[in-house]
């Protein structure tokens, strides 16, 4: 049994979020320069990623969706190997086979990035079943979007996990968009967490742009799962500040809605709060900027300098 994670301070959250944001922006820039394929960034949703992941123990496992860079980096993924994967290089976490959309990293306990919306939901109960049959009290965190909550597999996964008492923290990152469709076009209710009742499990909605609030809610949920052996549905309310998939000019997004949420940017908000409360000095903030930039410079040059996979990789790893 691993010990519970230490409570991270807000400054640590801030730096993690800055790293994620910068990673995504560089990744988008790399696409724009024609150096990597399009990608789904998690810009605007960093607080949800760092808050939940911080609440996990080392032996807890993660499944996530196409907007997974935040979860991976929060979990400690090496930005260089992650970017190499996005660029399709042999040094990436999956040798370039995954690319941006299916990254897994066994060494980090990240079982899956599913680019099939709902794929993460379909596998999560089985992963939790393995844990519980081993007698472990580890949990599985399964990240998915408000769109995935419309897929039938959402219903099947929550119901099975409930009936079989599987330790899954279902994390719905409700960012108001499902590619080019607004959430309001896809459901009559405002919250997804309210669906938990239909499965006889607990659900809760939390401000997904506040890393500390997310952390507190996730930590409590994880504790309840370990205690009760019952899954939990946590909804983090946040917003997709960039487009769905690069390139995307967001021409279809309501300007006021976007402005409202830009004003609630989880990074800017936390940074200015910490600066104005004195918890962070401008010097420390500048040092963070520098550290992030340095890590990313190194990551991108590692990735760009890495070799392509050899052509025999076309047919390796198909069968065990």
């Amino acid at each position: 049994m691993s010990t519970s994670p230490a409570v991270p301070g807000p400054a640590a959250f801030l730096e993690q979020m800055m790293l994620i944001r910068a990673f995504e922006e560089r990744s988008a820039a790399s696409f724009a320069e024609g150096r990597s394929p399009g990608t789904c960034t998690c810009v605007g949703q960093e607080a949800s990623a760092v808050g939940v992941v911080a609440a996990l123990r080392e032996d807890d496992l993660i499944l996530t969706n196409h907007r997974s860079a935040g979860h991976l980096l929060a979990r400690g993924a090496d930005p260089g190997r992650l970017m190499a994967e996005i660029m399709g290089r042999s040094t990436g976490y999956c040798g370039g086979k995954s690319g941006t959309l299916h990254v897994s990293a066994k060494e980090l306990g990240v079982i899956l990035t599913s680019t099939i919306v709902g794929g993460e939901l379909s596998l999560a109960p089985g992963v939790a079943l393995s844990l519980s049959m081993k007698g472990s009290d580890a949990v599985v965190a399964c990240f998915f979007g408000d769109g995935a909550a419309c897929e039938g597999i959402f219903h099947e996964a929550l119901n099975l996990a409930a009936v079989w008492k599987l330790p899954v923290l279902f994390v719905c990152e409700n960012n108001e968009w499902q590619a080019f469709v607004h959430r309001r076009e896809t459901m009559l209710t405002e919250n997804i967490a309210s669906r938990a009742a239909g499965y006889g499990i607990e659900g809760r909605t939390v401000d997904g742009n506040d890393a500390e609030a997310v952390f507190a809610a996730a930590a409590e949920a994880v504790e309840r799962i370990r205690e009760t052996k019952t899954p939990f549905l946590l909804e983090t309310k946040t917003y997709r500040l960039r487009g769905h998939f690069e390139p995307d000019d967001q021409g279809y997004v309501d300007k006021d809605e976007l402005a409202t949420w830009r004003a609630r940017d989880p990074i800017a908000t936390l940074r200015s709060r910490l600066l104005s409360s004195g918890a962070l000095t401008t010097g420390e903030a500048a040092a963070m900027d520098r550290r992030v930039a340095e890590r990313l410079d190194a990551a991108f040059s590692f990735a760009a300098g890495s070799p392509w996979p050899s052509l025999d990789q076309l047919t390796t790893n198909v069968y065990a």
Partner: protein
């Protein structure tokens, strides 16, 4: 003639058919956002965004089709069809038969597929053969802007469920499209280049590889006929057999995995129906029996390219010659 992309050709086909027939409607995850001009012309009731749920999108199309509408649904990428197999195969494909002909299912399900965007095997998987193997369905997969338009219009008018596959590598490359009510019949192949020494049968992006190969081969004195199937179900047996009877040699080319692919059906049919005309073993050139990797170099290597096609054709021709002289 205008020069437009296949993406726009599909848009024209939808608009023209919706104008012509008030029962035609379109829905899918984002179609009303992406094709806003259709919403503007036909209203929000006939062009709809949907929740993210491929099963019910396809099922709703089938239910609507059974009761008087002609839905076109956009299921985005072919691997997402795995979430609508039940509705497409068990309902749309079988219920006309099981009802003894009481209902019909005039609907079109679109899905993009193939290499080109580096998005990997959960977006890029050529599964057209599944639907060719399933009863009651039709399947098309065009290679030119004109065919995207003409086949889409015919698919919408067809009284059966049609799977319409869009090769992503072709979708944004402009091509010529005839003016007016341009229809291409389902089930008719196109001879993209006539020839007499070897028949290259293909569809979608690899048709262009075949044409390029045929040009290379022509320079070497080998005359290759390129047959573009366009429709995979029904497929134009007559055109393929006629070509093979003329050339005596067959190379079938597609991006989809080789095993149990459409090429297997073509090869098997020729081995049954035109056996006596064959002067050389049939050759299939297809994607490997593996998922498609995202990495650009691997993605491209997955697809049979012009060089490999030319080499296969050369091999076929050479082999006969050596057999003949042996």
């Amino acid at each position: 003639m205008r020069t437009i992309t296949p993406y726009d050709a599909i848009g024209e086909a939808l608009a023209e058919e919706m104008r012509r027939d008030a029962t035609v409607l379109a829905f899918g995850e984002g179609i009303a956002t992406k094709r806003h001009d259709l919403v503007a012309e036909f209203g929000a009731a006939r062009v709809r965004n949907t929740p993210l749920a491929e099963g019910i999108i396809a099922g709703t199309a089938a239910g609507a089709a059974a009761t008087g509408l002609r839905p076109v649904v956009d299921l985005l990428f072919a691997p997402f069809l795995t979430f609508s197999m039940e509705e497409i195969v068990n309902s749309a494909g079988k219920l006309r038969f099981l009802s003894g002909g009481q209902f019909s299912f005039p609907m079109v399900a679109m899905a993009m597929t193939g290499a080109g965007w580096g998005v990997g095997a959960q977006h890029n998987h050529n599964v057209e053969a599944w639907f060719v193997h399933s009863p009651g369905l039709k399947v098309v997969m065009p290679s030119t802007a004109a065919d995207f338009k003409g086949l889409m219009k015919s698919s919408i008018r067809d009284d059966n469920p049609v799977l319409f596959f869009l090769d992503v590598a072709l979708l944004h490359t402009p091509g010529e499209v005839p003016d007016g009510d341009h229809l291409v019949p389902l089930g008719k192949a196109a001879i993209r280049r006539p020839g007499s020494d070897v028949t290259l049968v293909s569809y979608a992006k690899t048709v262009h590889g075949c044409v390029a190969a045929a040009e290379t081969l022509a320079a070497e004195g080998i005359s290759a006929e390129v047959v573009d199937l366009r429709s995979l179900k029904p497929w134009d047996e007559e055109a393929v057999l006629a070509s093979v009877r003329k050339t005596g040699r067959l190379v079938v080319v597609h991006e989809a995995s080789r095993t149990c692919g459409v090429g297997a059906e073509i090869a098997a049919t020729v081995a049954e129906e035109a056996f006596a005309s064959l002067r050389t073993p049939i050759v299939r050139l297809a994607g490997p029996d593996a998922p498609a990797a995202s990495s650009w170099v691997l993605e491209q290597a997955f697809v049979p390219q012009a060089d490999a096609i030319a080499e296969a054709a050369r091999g076929a021709v050479a082999r006969t010659l050596s057999l003949a002289t042996a």
